[in-house]
Amino acid sequence: MTSDEHKEGIRGMANPRRYGIERVAYLLMRLSGLGLLAYFVAHIYETSNILRGQVGWDEFLELTQTTEGHIFLTVVIGMCVFHTVNGVRVMLGHGGVGVGKPGRPDYPYDPASQNYRHKIGIYSAIVLAAAAMMYGLAVMFGE
């Protein structure tokens, strides 16, 4: 990493175009994690409306069961599936699965762990997230 790259700070760290699909996965993992945590907190608040009885519950459903609400939920489904599949890949990597054998570092110093197996894992996570989003849209708008 050059000193110019250091000067970019968090923006440089988050640049998804410079370091390949692994950096994109790193960024998406964190963004989807934060998004899912925000959704989880909102969901706990949303479901607590049942304590207000049928009227309170129905009032809140009117807010969430809209076209915008369904689109928002579709994004949540995408984040959830990507985070899960990529999370399993990361766990397997941490356990030493699919990272290759250790070897002498030779030029151009390609990291053995950033191999085709893990790239396939990342692309699979993206494709599965897209498929789940389409299924979610079909379920929510198909009624």
Partner: protein
């Protein structure tokens, strides 16, 4: 607690949550999506004790996983003894607060305090 132990908890809660959330979502699909969200249907879910226990487990697992994930992200961005302590305790308090608030909904609905 050692970071390696925390990461084992992080991965364990993730795997357990995936299985339980899958059941939670499949329950929405056993009926029509909109129908499953109707007041009586949701109330019946909460009053069914095994399902209420599952909701409580999901709440705890996701709160632990989510707030530990937030802690990891915040510590990746900035380091320092005081900062790291503040982040760790802040996330712990938020996690406990969310579990208490969510448990209140599950318990009160289950025992019919509506």
């Amino acid at each position: 607690m050692r970071e390696s132990t925390i990461m084992k908890i992080h991965y364990g809660t993730a795997l357990a949550a995936v299985a339980l959330v899958a059941v939670h979502i499949l329950m929405r699909l056993t009926q029509g999506f909109a129908e499953s969200l109707e007041y009586e249907s949701v109330l019946a879910n909460y009053k069914f004790i095994p399902y209420a226990i599952m909701l409580e487990l999901i709440l705890i697992l996701l709160a632990v996983h989510g707030f530990n994930g937030l802690r990891v992200i915040l510590i990746e961005l900035k380091q320092g003894k005081m900062y790291e302590k503040a982040v760790s305790y802040g996330c712990f308090v938020a996690m406990i607060g969310l579990i208490v608030y969510g448990s209140r909904t599950i318990i009160m609905t289950n025992i019919g305090m509506i």
